[in-house]
Amino acid sequence: MRPTLSRLGRTLAVGVSGLLLLSACSSGGDTTAKAGSSKPVAGGTLTTAVDTEPVSWDIHASTQDVTAEIQRGVFDSLVSQDSDGTFHPWLATKWEVAPDFKSYTFHLRDDVTFTDGAKFDASVVKANFDHIVAKETKSLYAANLLGPYTGTEVIDPQTVKVTFSKAFAPFLQAASTTYLGFYSPKALAAGAGKLAAGGPADVGSGPFVFSGYTKGQSATLTRNPDYAWAPKTATHTGAAYLDKVVIRFLPTASVRAGALTSGQVQVAKAIPPQNVTALKAAPGLELISRANPGGNYNLWLNGSLAPLDDVRVRKAIQRGIDVEQDVKTVTFGQYPRAWSPISPTTPNYDKSLEGSWPYDPKLSARLLDEAGWTGKDAQGYRTKGGKRLTVEWPQLSIQATREGRDVLGQAVQADLKKIGVEVKRPNLDIGTYNTQVYGGKANIIDLSWPRFDPDVLWLFFNSGSAPAKGGINATFLTDASFDAWTDQGRATLDEKTRADVYPKVQQRGIDLAVVIPLYTQVSLVGQSDEVRGLTFNASNWLTYYDAWLVQK
């Protein structure tokens, strides 16, 4: 496969899908009456098209959003978090948090059964958490979510105590995610390979049963008729309305859009920004766009490596990129430009950063002069002592084209060339990329890291999250203020403290110019108007439990 050919194919495909959307609009006329259909009805099959297929279906091992999103219907959690960040009972009816945040005691419901008939109780909680941290599980994410976990104690069948070696306030948030959901004891015994393969081996207690999976094609969830323990965050109780949810894996964007406009699927995720206008105009279709919580798509500047060890050079680069214009052009105006390393839908977002560091190439020039980069070479790049001002920003070949990031990168390169900074973008494979980037040999790293909690800032800025320790702190700096604030935020659930420290972290990140936020990722979901009640949870994942179909 030659890349040029596939790019041509893509361009053609986009063009064709544009035509198709137009023709779908003009042929409309089958708009269904909306009147008298506000009362949910049970029954029907909802088909959703998604762009990625899970590599592993094991919620305890996988890092993938798509795994957690689909499996949300199959697995329940201890608690549920609403979009304001408040926690509500789910499998736990109530809980006590120790004042030092080193232990959490949960009181469990006594009426919960798994779909294989096994009963949910304290021993199941212990078995699942112990399974997550066991090294055979090779957990890549859930184990991180358990933080400094030391163990789970079964106090009585309806009470468990989870303990940590250090204060760990983000635990409730972690416990609300699919990644810390519960397998039935029999499923756990089946072993990691079975869980990862998906299908009926993945037994949970959720509103749906994972009834079928055809690799490369689709996954099917069927209603669990006995479900009676929905969280307070849902809009109804009892069994789900839908008989069946079919999730189809359609990696080609124009095919997803076409399947939606032709009514072969009722919901399509990851609508490409260039199709949004046409889709909005199509009758019978709606577009939902929601900003993802957590880390934005940011550039991280390596403050430990020349020439970016000089804050003036970093600042010059930060102010020398026309973020507003670049993002608008590349994402067809669908993604908002970002001002903070975290998105506006994340709790404790610092709104005061908005507009505080506008594009200012004149300031950049002044800063570079001050930093001693006063020479100019034949290509127009700045030099100091005969050395060109060059920064290296490697790109990962397999991810380069995601959300047009390769094009955005070119725009950034062009902006920085204007202020005399050369940006090199070597195209690397995963192995070389990881060695270079995590070894701190790159000047700039781009990263997006969605998660519904400001504790994500700990991952970005705390020295405990240094890449050498398996973390993602790409500033490569050890900064006492960052460490103190993010540790403080992590060690408390006190809203006042968090509202104090987290904005300070965001502010300092921008001031030190170790981060250049580019855009907030937005979920663009198209849905037919026969679909009702489809909701997003706090992590912006579709939840099918409350969804129902208008009967025609």
Binding site: S17, L20, G258
Partner: protein, 314 residues
């Protein structure tokens, strides 16, 4: 007719020997490629944005034997292959053999449907137009050229747009029954049809100029009968060779077609494996392709004498 002492049995034994050599070569190349990938294999396995804890890394290294010398790894690898063990997928946590087995049937269905369609279309197009009026022939030739040179990715999207999104004749994706096989099979067959028809027409036209055609015609055999019974048989050998070779290439074509149509199969498996750097799966597919090529070329060679009596004497 004289037959050599070894006969067909000896021929088959010879084929099996060279087939084994081809497979060993493919296995060795795949192993070498794995060794040549830059970077630490454990990092490669863990994937991007993910450096993993030391415990996880040690577990992977131990499980896959990265701490042993390369020669040791190679022998161990060949030994495993001999037992039919293609290893374990790092990412999917499943044996590669069962993954391939699960995905083989949908691809076989697609490839067989495409092959039959391509051969039928090519024969019809060539027999109908060879040596006929130039205008007629030119039209056929142009459409064959277009179908041979259009990227199948694009053909697939155009077919979907027209027959699925616009007129709702066929479903968009999946492998559920005959209806969902039509568009992918047509997409995969078109480039094949173009090449086969062009070659076949050329062969037919050469055969039709041979003296035996005039002889046959003078005995009162009809024009169409001459084409089908005599001339077609003359150019069937190159057609067979080419078909065999192109059938092997269908696996490659399936990557694009399966992706566009959201079909399960070897193609979508290999795409996922390559993008996730799932090397055991990639190697498994390489070996499977080598095996398919060997099987096809053996079948083709065994078919030659059936078609052409002159090849029967050793």
């Amino acid at each position: 007719m004289t037959r050599s002492a070894t006969g067909p049995a000896g021929r088959i034994a010879g084929h099996l020997g060279s087939a084994a050599a081809v497979l060993l070569g493919a296995a060795t190349l795949a192993f070498l490629a794995l060794q040549l990938i830059p970077g630490d294999p454990v990092s490669v396995l863990l994937g991007p944005s993910n450096s993993g804890s030391p415990e996880v890394r040690a577990e992977i290294a131990r499980e896959y034997g990265f701490d042993r010398p390369v020669a040791d790894q190679y022998l161990h690898y060949l030994g495993r292959l001999l037992q039919g063990d293609l290893g374990q997928s790092y990412q999917l946590q499943r044996p590669v053999r069962s993954l391939l087995a699960d995905q083989l049937w949908p691809t076989m269905q697609l490839a067989l449907a495409a092959l039959v369609l391509a051969v039928v279309l090519a024969v019809v197009s060539a027999v109908a137009t060879a040596g006929r009026r130039p205008g007629f022939r030119a039209v056929a030739s142009v459409w064959e050229l277009i179908s041979a040179s259009t990227p199948s990715y694009w053909v697939g999207i155009v077919l979907l747009t027209v027959f699925s999104f616009r007129f709702h004749v066929f479903p968009v994706a999946g492998a559920e029954g005959f209806a969902s096989l039509v568009l992918p099979a047509v997409t995969l067959a078109l480039p094949l049809t173009g090449v086969l028809a062009q070659v076949l027409r050329e062969g037919l036209e050469a055969a039709l100029e041979q003296p035996f055609v005039i002889t046959a015609r003078s005995r009162g055999v009809g024009l169409t009968a001459v084409r089908l019974r005599h001339a077609l048989r003359h150019c069937a050998v190159p057609l067979l060779t080419l078909t065999g070779w192109l059938t092997g290439s269908l696996i490659g074509g399936a990557v694009l077609v399966e992706t566009v149509f959201g079909r399960p199969g070897i193609g979508s498996l290999v795409l996922q494996a390559v993008s996730a750097k799932d090397m055991p799966v990639v190697i498994g597919v390489v070996l499977l392709s080598a095996f398919v090529f060997v099987v096809i070329s053996t079948v083709v060679e065994l078919l030659y004498p059936v078609i052409d009596p002159r090849l029967r004497s050793a």
